[in-house]
């Protein structure tokens, strides 16, 4: 995974609460077996007026010019400003892949849904929780003339504002380390393989009926 330490980007204000992962990346684009190719369909039903299909590029679509990400001033945005309970609904990690591929490196909101929040850290997208009043203020600035450029420093856990102001934020320690060092989560766990193996052996001794599990393919013949 790509490490994240510090980055600067324009904030795009997505002014609605409870944005679900079905909106972030609609289901008709989940049929890929790859982790890439989702950015073109980020917020598809809001960004475009026509119903999209896999393979159509944004140039071939009818843009909804009223949608915030389509406004010229928010092109090249790197930070998504959002409202409460962002990323609720489906566990699809495709939502995070789509946000990253579109060009966002951070999402700021008063609250996030649990699975989405976890999925962010597995992919190098930084979710930042701030008090609602602070988010309100950022929305106002981002919607105001000239927009709002934010520098986000993960190591210092600090957002730097253009006027020299700073906003502190807090990211769980384990998640912060993972992002800062771009750690391989599975590798980190497999470092404890002996411990897992020992636990498993004693666990199956305690719960012998779980040893056979769901069986093997040979038993699955129709």
């Amino acid at each position: 995974m790509k490490a994240f330490r510090r980055d600067t980007g324009l904030a795009a204000p997505l002014d609605r609460a409870n944005v679900d992962t079905d909106q972030i990346i609609p289901k008709q684009f989940l049929k890929s077996i790859k982790r890439t190719g989702f950015g073109d369909n980020l917020f598809d039903a809001w960004r475009f007026l026509d119903e999209g299909d896999i393979g159509l590029t944004p140039n071939e679509r009818r843009l909804n010019h009223r949608f915030v990400l389509n406004q010229p001033r928010y092109q090249e945005a790197g930070v998504l400003l959002a409202r409460r309970n962002f990323g609720c609904g489906s566990s699809r990690e495709h939502a995070v892949w789509a946000l990253l591929e579109y060009g966002f490196f951070a999402v700021i909101a008063p609250s996030f849904a649990d699975i989405f929040f976890e999925n962010c850290f597995k992919n190098g997208l930084l979710p930042i929780r701030l008090d609602e009043a602070v988010v309100d203020d950022l929305f106002e600035r981002a919607q105001g003339d000239g927009g709002l450029e934010l520098t986000i420093d993960l190591e210092a856990q600090r957002i730097e504002l253009p006027d020299g102001g700073e906003i502190a934020f807090d990211v769980p320690l384990s998640a912060r380390r993972k992002l800062l060092e771009g750690l391989d989560d599975i590798g980190l766990t497999l470092a404890q393989a002996d411990r897992i193996r020992a636990f498993e052996a004693s666990y199956h001794q305690r719960r012998p009926w779980l040893r056979s599990g769901a069986g093997t393919p040979e038993q699955a013949a129709p």
């Binding site: 909106q23 077996i33 039903a45 636990f199 719960r207 069986g215």
Partner: protein
Amino acid sequence: MATLYDKIWADHLIGEREDGQSLLYIDLQLLHEVTSPQAFAGLAQAGRALWRKEANLATPDHNVPTDNRAAGIDGIADPVAREQVVTLDDNCRRHGVRQFGMLDVRQGIVHVMGPEQGATQPGMTIVCGDSHTSTHGAFGALAQGVGTSEVEHVMATQCLAQSKARNMAIRVNGKLPAGVYAKDLALALIGSIGTAGATGHTIEYQGEAVRALSMEGRMTLCNLSIEAGARAGLVAVDDTTIDYLQGRPLAPSGSEWQAAEAHWRELVSDADAEFDSAASLDAAALTPQVTWGTSPEMVAGIEGATPNPNRAADPTEADGVERALAYMGLAADQPIADIRLDRVFIGSCTNARLEDLRVAARIVAGKQVASSVKQALVVPGSGLVKQAAEAEGLADIFTAAGFEWRAPGCSMCLAMNPDKLLPGEHCASTSNRNFEGRQGHGGRTHLVSPAMAAAAAVAGHFVDVREWQ
């Protein structure tokens, strides 16, 4: 002193990783075609193997067609969807994972198939790359939806690296009135605490009304935990749980059954266990629920009406209500019973089990789907549900009433297969999400119980099913 969640957590806790994350041992991972291919590919790329192949069980469900099933994979017209199902097949074969494929009578929606096979057992930790994995909590199992990276992590390590959630108790006192079901209970709860009401928590459902629910009802309730923001919901083990499990193909038998049952019986919260938060509901006061908006918390009783943004608590809420009403093509203060339906969908991991189909069939028996309803679909949750429903005559009742009787899968719950709404169409749906476009681009979903969906199909608009009992 411990809650049920505390107990299952402690029983599976391996220890802490060097970064402070807890390593939780996972007993079972359910796999389907949409969220597993990237995980299998990741394993291959890193040259890693499955930690324990028999801890995985797969079935295709999200984008399988619900007609022309005899054609198997060749019956999938959409080449991209077909590639996912073929890839699941290949991956299962290559990695030695048991799969109930498209032609297997045991194929079905993962969250219907797992319990039906007895793969889901009390005290287990279960994951699946699907947020409705919370369903399996009905058995007193800690079941969580995970992202694809976590799917791969569990494949490679048999562990989930996570922090413990907080405990939340939801007590449902009293008895559900006739015509009011687990679905209504869940929707009313989400309406009351909101879609983020249980974020960061594991819910335990308690109280007389929960104890009185069948396993099917408990699965419906736990299924919707994620719509209240909780990754997992739990119901303590009792006779209802034990009776359901007896004789299931993957449930233990003989002396192992004795040992398992003894352990399972301990899977209840201690009387003096402390919860970080709590909510309660009076079952007797509940009425049939209908969602009117684009989030499961936007719900009203059948006797009620849509809200008015002028009465919203704050500007964000007013904006949400206004936007939802506009998307749904509804007015403020519009009576719920006036909402007319274009399609009806009875199915999904929330409500496609035999009990759900029985309730719906009882409502439509001898009646006809209203001529104004373009399509009424029944999609059983698994091949075995379908078979059982056909054997007891339910399929005939549905088809005589004008419903289409289909093959199992997720179908119109998320419309990844050809079953979908057209723009502007209203659908009475027994599924779990009424998000914009969920059942098709521009489609308008109203979440209801199977009884309410069946009655709406006959009437052509929402009606109070309590008057049809």
